[in-house]
């Protein structure tokens, strides 16, 4: 699988540092499940985090801290799961949110060929899954903020190019586009936005308002 569009290094660094909110982190983790190149960037950033940790000014713990921890060492704990075998077509980081099979998600119908499923909202950033059959797509719009779209199945295109499984499209407010699913298998995307979309047409405006886009 060749991935040509990656999240920027800035987003990868935010994921590694822990600054990225859950919605953005979900997109990055799902991309990492598909992209070894970005896994290497995150490994580099986390190693930088390890270096920052070893150089941070230490703060002494309570006098009895070590004894307090010692007293808890033998307490029974939940079994640590090693490499649980995940099945299904949903990337592992998404499975806690939607289960393992895209076909079992209770998709909400928007218009012909287009449905969605809301995942979560954090600090005004929303993550949702969008499902578009061949030829369907999100009506022409611009953005008030940034939007990241990770392709999980199928592919789509817009004025800027074609996006296939693993690709992340990053759009800024200036971009006006009408992403449309390619012929072939259904296209499923994870879309993360930090502000509502701005639709060009009246009907999409109304539909967008109803569905909270």
């Amino acid at each position: 699988m060749t991935i040509s569009h990656h999240p920027g290094e800035e987003l990868l660094l935010s994921y590694a540092s822990g600054a990225a909110n859950e919605a953005a982190a979900l997109l990055v983790a799902s991309h990492l499940a598909l992209c070894s190149d970005c896994r290497m960037s995150v490994a580099a950033a986390e190693a930088a985090g390890g270096s920052v940790l070893s150089q941070v000014a230490p703060v002494a713990l309570d006098r009895n801290a070590y004894d307090a921890v010692l007293a808890r060492l033998d307490a029974p704990t939940a079994e640590i799961v090693r490499g649980a075998n995940l099945a299904g077509n949903v990337p592992a980081p998404l499975q806690p949110y939607v289960g393992s099979d895209f076909d079992n998600i209770p998709w909400r119908h928007i218009v012909h060929g287009l449905s969605y499923y809301p995942l979560l909202t954090r600090d005004g950033t929303r993550a949702r899954l969008i499902r578009a059959k061949a030829g369907a797509g999100v009506a022409e719009h611009t953005h008030r903020g940034e939007e990241w779209t990770l392709v999980l199945a199928g592919s789509y295109r817009d004025v800027t190019g074609r996006y296939a499984v693993g690709d992340v499209q990053t759009t800024t407010p200036q971009i006006r586009h009408e992403p449309t699913a390619d012929p072939g298998p259904v296209c499923i995307n994870l879309a993360v936005t930090d502000a509502p979309l701005v639709f060009a047409g009246l009907l999409p405006k109304i539909v967008g308002k109803i569905f909270g886009f």
């Binding site: 290094e9 660094l13 490994a43 930088a48 985090g49 940790l53 230490p58 090693r82 649980a84 592992a92």
Partner: protein, 187 residues
């Protein structure tokens, strides 16, 4: 550099000893080294003394419990413990879930399954990365450090430094490119 590499090796060995043999002396060495650093890290990020104390203890308890999953071919002890502290903080302070990679990923396989030369190769790669980090131009190093020690979007970091966001982003790209090269092959 040599002393730093030796210390990293000593800390890796201590986590392995805890994982394999529940070695309490090794655990105490890890506690003495890392607990005050984890507490310092959490306080730099705005946690109060009591919360930072609790989470630092919790982080070291997690080290004890998960030591068998530590894989020095994937991360040094300090990098591994950084990710533990980061995730505990997201969970306890932000009350968010931390989406993580595939649990089938080799990061979660017991270290016994990894070859010794892979372990050595990774330790050397992290040494190179630390050296590269120390040699970054001050303006790039500052942004990387703030990314870990100030929980703010890069747009706010840019604001506070009086820089355009584009400048901050390009410093991140330059710094990350150098760190990746260091991790890759050192040339």
């Amino acid at each position: 550099m040599e002393a730093g590499a030796n210390e990293a090796g000593r800390l890796n060995a201590a986590v392995l000893a805890v994982g394999r043999a529940r070695d309490r002396a090794a655990f105490q060495a890890l506690f003495d080294h890392f607990a005050p650093r984890v507490k310092g890290y959490l306080m730099r990020l705005g946690a109060g003394n009591a919360v930072a104390e609790d989470l630092a203890q919790e982080a070291l308890l997690t080290v004890w419990r998960k030591a068998a999953l530590f894989d020095p071919a994937k991360a040094s002890a300090s990098t591994w413990i950084f990710t533990i502290a980061r995730n505990l903080r997201i969970d306890a302070i932000r009350k968010e879930r931390r989406p993580e990679l595939d649990p089938n990923d080799a990061a979660l396989l017991p270290q016994a399954e990894r070859a010794a030369d892979e372990t050595m190769a990774w330790a050397e790669a992290e040494d190179r990365l630390r050296a590269a980090l120390a040699e970054l131009p001050r303006e790039q190093a500052e942004i990387i450090e703030l990314s870990f020690l100030a929980e703010k979007p890069h747009s706010r970091i840019a604001n506070e430094l009086g820089l355009p966001l584009g400048t901050v982003k390009s410093r991140i790209r330059l710094a990350m490119a150098r760190l990746r090269v260091a991790l890759g092959d050192g040339t």
